[in-house]
Symmetry: C2
Subunit: 230 residues, 2 copies
Amino acid sequence: LPGRKVLIVYAHQEPKSLNGSLKSVAVEELSKQGCSVTVSDLYAMQFEPRATRNDIVGCLHNSEMFNYGVETREAYKRRELSSDLLEEQKKVQEADLLIFQFPLYWFSMPAIMKGWMDRVLVEGFAYQFPDCYNSGLLKNKFALFSFTTGGSQETYTKGGISGDIRYLLWPMQHGIMHFCGVKVLAPHICFAPEYVSEEERKEMLLAWAQRLKTLWKEEPIDCSPEWYFK
Amino acid sequence: LPGRKVLIVYAHQEPKSLNGSLKSVAVEELSKQGCSVTVSDLYAMQFEPRATRNDIVGCLHNSEMFNYGVETREAYKRRELSSDLLEEQKKVQEADLLIFQFPLYWFSMPAIMKGWMDRVLVEGFAYQFPDCYNSGLLKNKFALFSFTTGGSQETYTKGGISGDIRYLLWPMQHGIMHFCGVKVLAPHICFAPEYVSEEERKEMLLAWAQRLKTLWKEEPIDCSPEWYFK
């Protein structure tokens, strides 16, 4: 939609990968719609995933006993978080929609992207007790997890060895995004692209472009246990 | 048990934290039993969480199109993984029991520990299709996730806002450890230590020491969907 702002948080080492193409397709399609699109290319940025004392500029609130949650909350209030975090928070603040594009690593996102969650979504910025879940501070934003898997779709079913794919979405969609008040759109999953033909991979890209055309009309999922485990 | 080997993978920035104490209690109690205990102190090691080309020494299998899974699998065969990975794999190989000690970050492990999973558990070392799940290459080992939470136990129940704590154990216990053939012992969870008295925190340490005394008699959980979602 013209004027809408989108942040794509992207974690793949290889621009020529399917993930790289999925990212490019999204930039292209959303830009064509008149959206303003920003990409955080985590590997290219050499984004720091480790939550350490370096995230706080200046003195600590309690240097006797380092508590990352307390220190980043206090540093956020004082505007003393490290500049890479402030930049990511600015991008999140401005965005209407966050797209996370990544290959599934061990039933979850790659560590570099988990580090983005751990470090960027600071208390006071993304939530503030009791303002979490439906009243999280990032309400009125949408998020969409777009990822590729190693295993086939059959393995990720209720009776399959890896269980329903929705089981592994719970920590990411409910535990992170919903916790911050973000509304969650249905995930976009490309199963086992390494084991399909070039033709089928092209169809995966087309399907993503197609979905993006009507994305702004989509309703968020009902992010409750029933959606995941029913 | 005398002679048993334990690897504790530990992720907390502050030695004086409850996580630091839980780690120390485990080292002490297991050593007293005659176990040989190794600790991978991830923050102190400045462990690298990012999965990149640097993990492969020498030439790439396919430098035109970087595929981390393929490259690390091939590098493992050639014994050309980076030395930090080889060291961690050696520790895992020798261990009878892996203990993961960490504070829960966003319904999961901190990025630095996720990076340990992403980088250390290479194809060929930890699994080898079709040898995964019950026939994973790390069978005959046990794993135990020991962690602290921010939220209280009531929030992590079926009717609570954060859902049953078991929901978030699925990706870690089933998706990672069970996938590699590792048998999973019941998790050890200290709920909301920041919000209880010093006395109660001491009891948490005692309870952990107490559990460790009879740990080797424990049966692994039945790591199936029923355990998590019934």
